[in-house]
């Protein structure tokens, strides 16, 4: 928390924290319990500027960077990871892709509604046969006059049924595995678009994850992002930001779990001693806090690099890998500190435990992060160390 922040960064952090604790917390409690998507909250986040953090002012945003998004995501996720993932995908994937690769017409048409939170964003890569192996995707897009015709399905799409703008990756050239993929903005009103299966998840109960079905779905040709064949490049560039967002989510969850662990262990007495006074607890607290801080710094660094326009794929993958691992260890230890009651819905740690798990799965599994990191390390070595 002592990372040197500028005055406005501290103010942004404070607004996010105050909003999360005062306004989001009560909504989140009910939404997670009942599995409701808290639509209203995103309007409020939009009013405060949190749904268009990286969007320039001319399109209704606040023109700040990944770093400020990370600061905000930490605070929101510490209170509600479901809201956090929706906000992360919206900002770091949908808004970012439209801003970076969309035509001026599409930016003007969609970004103001996205930045205000009236419209939500989604990002659709995954298919049943294309998980970690992105380039195995089959959803096809065939050009016909001024339109593309999409056929196939996407699964596990966060916010898919609530979004007004979905970045959909589809195959435009069956003959080319990686360069045959293109990115489109699909608006849910398009004919031939429908929502399929709605997933029942272990955690993130206040966010939605759905299947998207495309049956001769017609998409305007100018909804193509960049050029045909640029899809894989766009997907990977977007994912750098997405991973930083999920790293920030993991840091937020981990910090919340650490706080819950410390709070509980100071109150709970066994053998006439507060359990916080047992050395086994103290050591846990030390290890948890150190890991959280390290995860935070890796995340901050990746965000700073991205804001400086530097390559950050390796750093984003490291932040995501370490922070998600940390979140899962910390929720485990914090639950252990709670004992049996931590296994009940009475205590926040139960939700944190469930919500943390997915951070090691989405935006690339931990295994994929290791693949990205090791590839970068080996390439760096080969570039810089003479034979």
């Amino acid at each position: 928390m002592n990372y040197p922040l500028s005055e406005d960064e501290r103010m942004i952090q404070k607004t996010a924290r105050d909003f999360a604790r005062k306004e989001l917390a009560p909504v989140s409690l009910e939404a997670n319990e009942k599995g409701i998507f808290p639509e209203r909250i995103f309007r409020r986040l939009g009013e405060l500027g949190f749904m268009g953090i990286m969007v320039p002012e001319e399109y209704g945003g606040v023109n700040l960077g990944s770093f400020c998004l990370v600061l905000a995501l930490e605070e929101i996720n510490a209170v509600c990871a479901s809201t956090g993932v929706t906000m992360s995908v919206h900002n770091s994937l949908t808004n970012w892709c439209i801003l970076k690769y969309g035509s001026e017409e599409i930016r003007k048409r969609l970004l103001p509604s996205l930045a205000s939170g009236e419209m939500l964003g989604a990002y659709a890569i995954t298919e049943s046969e294309a998980g970690s192996d992105v380039s195995a995707m089959r959803l096809s897009a065939v050009r016909k006059g001024h339109e593309y015709i999409l056929n196939g399905a996407k699964i596990f799409i966060s916010t898919g049924d609530k979004a007004g703008a979905i970045i959909v990756f589809a195959r435009t050239d069956p003959g080319n595995r990686t360069k045959g993929i293109s990115a489109f903005v699909v608006e849910p009103g398009s004919p031939g678009f429908s929502i399929g299966k709605i997933e029942k998840k272990m955690g993130l109960k206040a966010s939605t994850t759905v299947e998207l079905v495309f049956e001769d779905c017609r998409v305007r040709a100018d909804n193509l992002l960049g050029a045909e064949g640029m899809g894989m490049k766009i997907a990977l560039a977007g994912l750098d930001g997405g991973r930083i967002g999920i790293a920030a989510q993991a840091v937020g969850i981990a910090q919340a779990a650490l706080d819950e662990g410390v709070r509980f262990s100071r109150e709970r007495k066994q053998f006439n001693t507060r359990i916080v006074d047992f050395q086994s607890t103290r050591w846990k607290i030390a290890d948890m806090a150190t890991a959280v801080e390290a995860a935070r710094l890796l995340t901050y660094r990746a965000a700073k690099l991205r804001d400086a326009g530097e390559p950050c794929s390796k750093e984003a993958a490291m932040a995501k890998l370490f922070a998600s691992r940390t979140a899962n260890r910390v929720v485990y230890d914090a639950l252990q500190m709670h004992g049996g009651v931590g296994y009940t819905e009475e205590f926040l740690i139960e939700r944190l435990f469930r919500d943390a798990r997915v951070t090691e799965l989405y935006e690339g599994t931990s295994e994929i992060q290791r693949l990205v990191i090791s590839k970068a390390v080996i390439e760096e070595f080969e570039r810089t160390v003479p034979d």
């Binding site: 406005d8 103010m11 942004i12 404070k14 607004t15 909003f19 500027g49 949190f50 953090i53 606040v62």
Partner: protein
């Protein structure tokens, strides 16, 4: 309409307050400072009045406090205030309410105003004197502990509800006036991200005591704090034990009567 909102920098309500070794104040380390809660209501009420009156209305934040108060002033600007006056002078360390009021009065007179909103008290020293001393110094009416505020259509009078023992009192006042704000008056807005970005360009006019025309430190304090003492530790909870409930009750009543002296 020129609206002023007074602001004080105070320790966070959640901060753990410890007294320093010399007994001259509180330990500063690890303490987070915030805008005095009641002053947030004042800023918010100023912003609402500005929005209602529109046109040329402005909200100016006035603060007397250390350099570090700048960030909190900036927060009020991010909420939507137009500009600020910050009286910042080494001679103002540990002032009494009379001195602060004298300093604020000068700054306020130089600024001009139609209405002043402030907190009903600061949550650190709980003195609650500034509004009354200021009202005297500026020779204007004061309405304290306001829970509702409404400006008359002619913008020359206002109706204020104030909390009194057992109910609410409705007061009609002429303008200019100083109104001190109570919880419940409004729900202060957050500093939005666009607000935070806009606040960077807003002006904070820094003033020293010399700038305000004080030849020397305003030394006419009416009170001096000699020493800060921590509250006595409470003895905690006493469990009343007896074989029979009726004996326990008897003992409890005796303790309440003789020891605690509450019945």
């Amino acid at each position: 309409m020129k609206i002023l909102a007074l602001l004080k920098r105070v320790p966070d309500t959640e901060a753990k307050i410890l007294i320093n070794q010399e007994g001259t104040g509180i330990k500063d380390e690890g303490i987070k400072y915030v805008i005095n809660t009641y002053d947030e209501y004042a800023v918010e009420e100023g912003l609402r009045l500005k929005e209602k009156t529109g046109g040329t209305s402005t909200v100016t934040v006035v603060c007397a406090g250390p350099e570090e108060a700048t960030e909190l002033i900036r927060t009020a600007l991010a909420m939507g205030a137009d500009d600020a006056v910050h009286v910042c002078d080494k001679a103002l360390e540990r002032p009494d309410p009379f001195v602060i009021a004298a300093v604020l009065a000068k700054a306020i007179k130089a600024e001009g105003f139609d209405i002043i909103f402030c907190g009903k008290q600061a949550i650190d020293d709980d003195m609650g004197q500034i509004q009354s001393i200021l009202a005297e110094m500026l020779d204007i009416p004061q309405v304290n502990v306001a829970t509702a505020f409404e400006l008359a259509a002619d913008a020359k009078r206002a109706t204020v509800r104030r909390r009194v023992e057992g109910g609410d009192e409705k007061v009609e006042t002429s303008l200019p006036v100083i109104v001190s704000c109570e919880k419940g008056l409004n729900d202060p807005r957050y500093a939005s991200l666009p607000g935070i970005m806009k606040a960077k360009k807003k002006e904070i006019r820094k003033k020293t005591l010399a700038d305000l025309g004080f030849a020397q430190a305003p030394g006419d304090a009416r009170s001096t704090i000699l020493r800060w003492l921590p509250p006595q530790k409470s003895s905690g909870c006493t469990m009343v034990k007896a074989e029979e409930t009726r004996d326990a009750v008897k003992e409890l009543v005796r303790l309440l009567r003789e020891e605690a002296k509450v019945v």
